[in-house]
Amino acid sequence: MGKKAMTDIEKQVCKLVQGDMPLNPQPFKELADKIGISEDAFISKINEFLENGYIRRFGAALRHRKAGITANGMGVWIVPESERERVGNIMASFKEVSHCYERPSFEDWPYNLFTMIHGRTKEECFEVAKRISDAAGIKEYNILFSSQEFKKESMVYF
């Protein structure tokens, strides 16, 4: 398991698809040629990594602001320990919620459930949060909107 258990060819395949796909009619062939394997072998490696979960998703990453999804609000919630499993699952069921995690809280940071909420406007995000609050029965929450994006990149693993 893990990157260390991969063969050199597998690592090379990963290295090529962690970047950007060529825009030619046979992009996988172009990539396969670079490392001297067949197009079919390259394609089946990708499918294998999708099946075993090494690759979580294969596709386009968007710049949400430019795609019209302008407001990205981090909803943070104070949920009692005994309620978290139930509430987390309710929150995750909202299509406007892209990420839902439990994280540690501190004296000056009381929030323990995190939901990334996406909408076209801040008002839309507030409205979603209100619906989540009603559905989950959690009243203590906050939405932290991003006022500036300093970095957004894909991780270079290989």
Binding site: N52, R57, M74
Partner: protein, 173 residues
């Protein structure tokens, strides 16, 4: 004066936004819906996408090239599961005084494991994600960042429980 500038910035941003939106038609949106999650892993993926939305392979490639040029598509490729690759990730938050934000962000962003970094409206105003080979490495880097910047209020908030990750968006309405 400052408020006026802010308003102007906002108005310009919205104008920019309207122009971009009007450039994207139904076919573009259909393409975006397909290629976010179901990019065909086949010999001729662009032909397959084109067939799906009723246009030629060439037009599909042109449209995707344009969506990239417009900056709507950041990249097309694989998103790996850090855990499966033997990496670990965390979300970190810091309280940084306004006048030190620029310097702090510069130091934080110099780490290749920092993939996202945002300013948010809260006492904890700087939020960044960190991917590394171990939690110790993340802790060590946070300590280094503290030493370099003098910012001591940095919280490491690793996942305690996972409920959901789904980062594709329906563009069709």
């Amino acid at each position: 004066m400052r408020r006026c500038f802010k308003f102007l910035q906002f108005a310009l941003f919205n104008l920019h936004f309207t122009i971009e939106r009007s450039d994207m038609d139904t076919i573009d949106k259909k393409i975006l819906n397909i290629i976010q999650t179901k990019f065909p892993i086949t010999q001729k993926p662009y032909e397959a996408i084109g067939e799906n939305v009723g246009i030629s392979e060439n037009e599909t490639i042109d449209r995707i090239a344009n969506l990239k040029k417009e900056g709507i598509i950041r990249r097309i490729g694989a998103t790996f599961d850090p855990k499966k690759l033997g990496f670990t990730s965390s979300l970190c938050a810091a309280k940084v005084p306004k006048e030190k934000v620029e310097e702090f962000v510069k130091v934080v962003n110099s780490y290749s494991g920092v993939t996202h970094n945002y300013e948010r409206e809260h006492q904890y105003n700087i939020w960044f994600t960190f991917i590394a080979e171990s939690m110790e490495e993340i802790e060590k880097s946070l300590k280094e960042i503290s030493d370099k910047t003098g910012i001591t209020d940095i919280r490491n908030l690793p996942t305690v429980r996972f409920f959901k990750i789904k980062v594709d968006f329906d563009m069709s309405n």
